[in-house]
């Protein structure tokens, strides 16, 4: 769990970006896929419906031309004098009958050619039940059955019209067919025969079957709701009042098509009323089945998935790269402090991160430059301060020395006074008139001796000072007032308990260094007083110059670096040892 949280924190940026990207890619592709599928299927259904309403018109036209041919054929029969005469005459003997049969068939043959192309059968029945059947294969009927059928009554009741009806009863031997019947009557109203046209359902189907297909169905429905013909054979003979009511509503509807639910399924519904046959021509389009053939939804979804996964992968790679370099940058920056802002950032990653890293590095460099300049300035200032100090002789020292000399003169120690004045002059000369920072060991020795002489003249000679200087060192240079402060310290602090002792000054070259040792056998110090290579001193005593023991070490290190400096060791009641290490310089610097 902790690991997970750490991981999330570490990849925070990446995860945020990636999630946003993935969600938007998926959302966009989902939306596009959905809308394109919807649009294409809508467009398809629209065009399909338009085409189908045209198809409906064509089918209607075929039906109309069929009824037209029936009407014109029946007109011809009606107006045919030969047929009228033959049907009106009595045919008692076989000879008459033979003539009757021959000429009837002969006349009918000619008229029949009008309706024959539609596979329609034409039948004429005389009042004496003679049947003239032009294509007995289509409708095998005998006069007796036909005469006793209720159809005849219906025809007689409307003798001026062609009566269409749907039959699949015994009358047609169970073959479903449309029968158009008309009474042949004289002006007086006497019916002299009956004319029938029959069209079997399979032949009727041919009117529209070529327009149908899977999911695109055509049905013929009578005003009673009975389906008399369909390319879906199983529906023939069914009664569907629902379908009928849709068809009736559709007549008053000013729409290209309508969505309906019949036979427990959703369909696109088109309908046309064919007045001549008194039937509804209905077109049911199973939108799903038909649209399925056009838009392969699975394929579209597959393509979308492929594109989404590809773009997610690419987004992953790009983001990973970008955020990784940024995260790296952040890591490096947060680690900056550990390397004291000295380590530059690695310039890697994308354009932005490289720019940032470069800018950061540039800033770092500038910062370092400034810091160095600042440090140098400070150093210079310190140096200047120290220099200023070492050129001064404390006025107290001058005053005290002069006061001492006055006492000596009063006590008439002329010689001592004269020596002291000499020493004093030499000191003043060395420190005031000599503007150089370094002096030779010999000169320093001179100064030391003058200082010691003055002090001994003032405080007596209970403290002795010995000088052991290697001759090869005499010409080497060393900074002014390096040794003096320690002698001063030894004079005034090392011999408070012991009243007498000595101070030894040793100067020699050791390991290519100039080593000056100041050793006293005085009181010694507790180690607490020795810190940072200086001697802590509380008292505010007037020193020889502004330079005390405390800044000798600092001065040396400022000037020569870490290899040089002051070391102090001390032991209580045994004495103190100060070692000053300096570079070997045989030239004025």
């Amino acid at each position: 769990m902790k690991k997970l949280i750490r991981f999330v924190q570490a990849n925070n940026l990446f995860i945020k970006f990636f999630l946003v990207m993935v969600i938007s890619i998926i959302a966009v592709s989902l939306f596009i896929t959905y809308s394109s599928i919807r649009m294409s299927s809508n467009l398809f259904i629209d065009t399909f419906s338009i085409t189908n309403s045209k198809v409906m018109d064509q089918i209607t036209q075929r039906f109309n031309s069929f009824t037209d041919s029936i009407v014109s054929a029946s007109l011809e029969v009606d107006t045919n004098g030969t047929i009228k005469q033959l049907l009106l005459e009595d045919h008692d003997n076989a000879v008459d009958k033979s003539t009757f049969y021959f000429y009837m068939t002969d006349e009918m043959d000619r008229i029949y050619s009008e309706v024959d192309p539609d596979d329609t059968n034409m039948v004429i029945m005389s009042n004496s039940n003679d049947i003239f059947n032009m294509n007995y294969i289509k409708w095998q009927i005998n006069g007796h059955t036909l005469m006793n059928d209720p159809m005849i009554e219906r025809v007689e009741n409307s003798p001026n019209e062609i009566v269409y009806q749907y039959e699949d009863s015994e009358l047609t031997n169970g073959v479903p067919m449309i029968i158009a019947s008309k009474a042949l009557k004289l002006k007086t109203g006497y019916i002299y025969g009956y004319l029938f046209f029959s069209l079997t359902e399979p032949d009727l189907k041919e009117f529209y079957e070529s327009y149908t297909g899977v999911g695109n169905n055509v049905l013929l429905v009578t005003p009673t709701g009975k389906i008399i013909s369909s390319n879906q054979d199983e529906r023939i003979g069914e009664t569907s009042p629902q379908l009928l009511s849709y068809a009736e509503d559709f007549e008053n509807l000013d729409a290209e098509y309508q969505q309906v639910n019949v036979f427990d399924q959703d369909y696109i519904f088109l309908s046309e009323y064919i007045p001549s046959l008194d039937i509804y021509l209905i077109n049911l389009i199973d939108q799903e089945t038909v649209a399925e053939n056009v838009t392969d939804t699975n394929e579209i979804i597959l393509i979308s998935i492929a594109i989404v996964s590809l773009s997610v992968l690419v987004a992953f790679l790009i983001l990973r790269r970008m955020t990784n370099s940024i995260s790296n940058l952040v890591h490096q920056i947060s680690d900056m402090a550990r390397y004291q802002f000295n380590k530059p950032l690695k310039v890697t990653g994308g354009y932005e991160t490289r720019k940032i890293a470069n800018a950061f590095n540039y800033m770092l460099n500038e910062l370092q430059d400034y810091v160095q300049i600042l440090m140098k300035t400070q150093e210079k200032q310190r140096k200047a301060e120290l220099e200023a100090l070492q050129h001064q002789i404390s006025p107290h020292f001058i005053y005290n020395t002069l006061a001492s000399i006055k006492f000596m003169i009063k006590q008439e120690k002329k010689e001592t006074a004269s020596d002291t004045i000499d020493s004093f002059i030499s000191l003043l000369q060395s420190s005031i008139s000599n503007a150089d920072e370094t002096i030779t060991v010999e000169q320093e020795l001179e100064n030391l001796k003058s200082y010691v002489q003055i002090n001994q003249a003032r405080y007596g000679e209970r403290i002795k000072v010995n000088y052991l200087v290697s001759p090869d060192c005499l010409d080497l240079y060393l900074p002014k007032l390096v040794i003096q402060p320690f002698i001063e310290n030894a004079f005034f602090h090392a011999f408070t308990k012991k009243k007498s002792g000595y101070i030894q000054i040793l100067i020699a070259q050791k390991e290519e260094k100039l080593v000056c040792e100041i050793i006293d056998n005085g009181d010694g110090m507790i180690s607490e007083r020795i810190a940072n290579n200086t001697i802590k001193s509380k008292e505010k005593r007037q020193l020889f110059s502004g330079i005390g023991v405390k800044n000798v070490h600092e001065r040396i290190q400022l000037r020569y670096g870490k290899n040089y400096g002051v070391e102090i060791t001390s032991e209580l009641s045994k004495g103190t040892r100060v070692i000053i290490k300096l570079p070997v310089n045989d030239e004025q610097t």
């Binding site: 049969y101 021959f102 068939t105 003239f132 059947n133 294969i137 394929e299």
Partner: protein, 442 residues
């Protein structure tokens, strides 16, 4: 260096991505193309397969259609599909004429049944429309008289099917009621037949036969007993001074004048006329036997006597009517159709045995007549060996060259006959008909 490298990497990735997307798309397209292609291929294969679903046109459910169905049962080829479509014979003739004369052959069947008397008119009018099937069977196995009408210029186009040998089917009960036995009906003339008919009509009130004024088949049956026809052997029309025709017409008129015949105007009415018991005899080709037998309630009431002959010298008590043969049209699937016919009607003896027993059809395939089925005693016909009798009579049929225009001439004649029935002089009528026919078939 690093910069350019990463730039290149990006370009590469971009290119890769585009390529991927493009191949994905084009791949899909190809895939769907292929799929469509396959569909098409399958579709065309399927349609070829359906093309292998051949069609055959024939008439008479009880006879020709039944024979074709039986042949299908005997044909051991699972890939072979034959759709048998029933049409009236006139319809077939009309459709064939329409289709063949247009030359498109669209909607034409693969196999069609054509009556022998019509065959030459088709073969000669549309020589390229039919496929010569002589290679699929041995013509010598068939009755000689069937070969001439079914071949043209030495090439065999038709596979001879049934013999048209005629017989006089009659109701034993009606005839007995009128005082006639079987012997009284054997080897009679048409004149005697009319006398018998008169008695039957008187005694039973039944008509002797049923006639269709538009079909003069009965005249042909009568004529052929003397070996005469509407045309001579050289093809010239001979209606005038055709003694046999004249005699036949006189008989025809006598039958009608004396109200001895019922009339019908279509095939179903014809079948009804004897199935309903309205007529006492049916003097037509043997192919009517299954239709007669279809009325099972009349079993045992029927017998068959030889065809009456014309009262002329050299006339035989045997005639021919409406024997037909199968033809293969010269369209896709012709090989399969010819193979089917050759394997069944052309060579299968066993099939012919079943044909006789199950359908009652008598083929003209000679090896078949040696089978037991020909000796079969038919219960429906009072135990008569009907098939054997027919095959005997078949041998006596006088040879006739039907020529090209049998039915054309008959159309003219049937119109003229109406006037003859109306009282016109016979010779005059024939002269008129002769003139009309000569004009029409010049």
């Amino acid at each position: 260096m690093k910069k350019t490298l990463s730039k290149k990497l990006w370009l590469l990735m971009l290119a890769l991505f585009t390529a991927l997307v493009l191949t994905a798309c084009s791949g899909d397209d190809e895939g769907s193309d292929n799929a469509e292609g396959n569909d098409d291929a399958e579709g065309s294969e399927a349609s070829e397969g359906e093309g292998a679903e051949l069609t055959a046109w024939a008439w008479d459910v009880n006879f020709n259609i039944a024979a074709l169905n039986l042949a299908l049962e005997h044909y051991d080829n699972e890939e072979f599909n034959l759709e048998i479509i029933e049409n009236a014979q006139d319809d077939i003739v009309q459709r064939l004429n329409t289709g063949l004369s247009s030359g498109t052959m669209k909607g034409m069947p693969n196999i069609v049944l054509i009556e022998d008397q019509r065959a030459q008119s088709f073969l000669q009018s549309y020589p390229d429309a039919f496929y010569a099937i002589g290679d699929y069977f041995n013509t010598e196995d068939f009755a000689d008289y069937k070969i001439a009408p079914t071949s043209l210029d030495g090439a065999q186009y038709g596979l001879p099917f049934d013999t048209g040998v005629t017989g006089l089917f009659y109701r034993t009960d009606y005839l007995e009621e009128a005082g006639y036995s079987h012997e009284d009906l054997v080897d009679i003339t048409w004149t005697e037949y009319i006398e018998i008919a008169t008695d039957v009509k008187e005694k039973t009130g039944k008509a002797m036969l049923s006639l269709d004024p538009n079909d003069l088949g009965i005249l042909r049956v009568m004529m052929q007993t003397t070996g005469a026809w509407y045309t001579t052997e050289d093809g010239s029309i001979q209606l005038e001074d055709n003694e046999a025709l004249k005699m036949a017409l006189e008989n025809y008129k006598a039958l009608l004048n004396n109200d001895l015949a019922n009339l019908h105007s279509d095939w179903s009415q014809f079948l009804a006329s004897f199935n309903s018991g309205d007529t006492a005899s049916v003097p037509v080709g043997n192919w009517i036997a299954p239709s007669v037998e279809a009325e099972e309630s009349q079993s045992g009431l029927w017998r068959v006597a030889p065809t009456p002959r014309l009262d002329m010298e050299g006339a035989a008590n045997a005639s021919n009517q409406g024997g037909s043969s199968f033809y293969v049209l010269n369209i896709d699937g012709k090989e399969a159709a010819a193979e089917f016919l050759g394997e069944t009607f052309g060579s299968n003896v066993e099939f012919y045995q079943d044909l006789v027993t199950e359908v009652g059809a008598i083929g003209t395939y000679k090896p078949a007549s040696e089978g037991d089925a020909y000796q079969f005693e038919n219960e429906f016909f009072n135990g008569q060996q009907v098939v054997y009798d027919f095959s005997q009579w078949m041998e006596d049929i006088p040879q006739v060259d039907y020529g090209m225009n049998t039915y054309g001439i008959e159309d003219i004649l049937s119109a003229e006959i109406q006037q003859y029935l109306d009282g016109k002089d016979l010779d005059e009528m024939l002269t008129d008909a002769q003139a009309q026919a000569e004009n029409q078939f010049k």
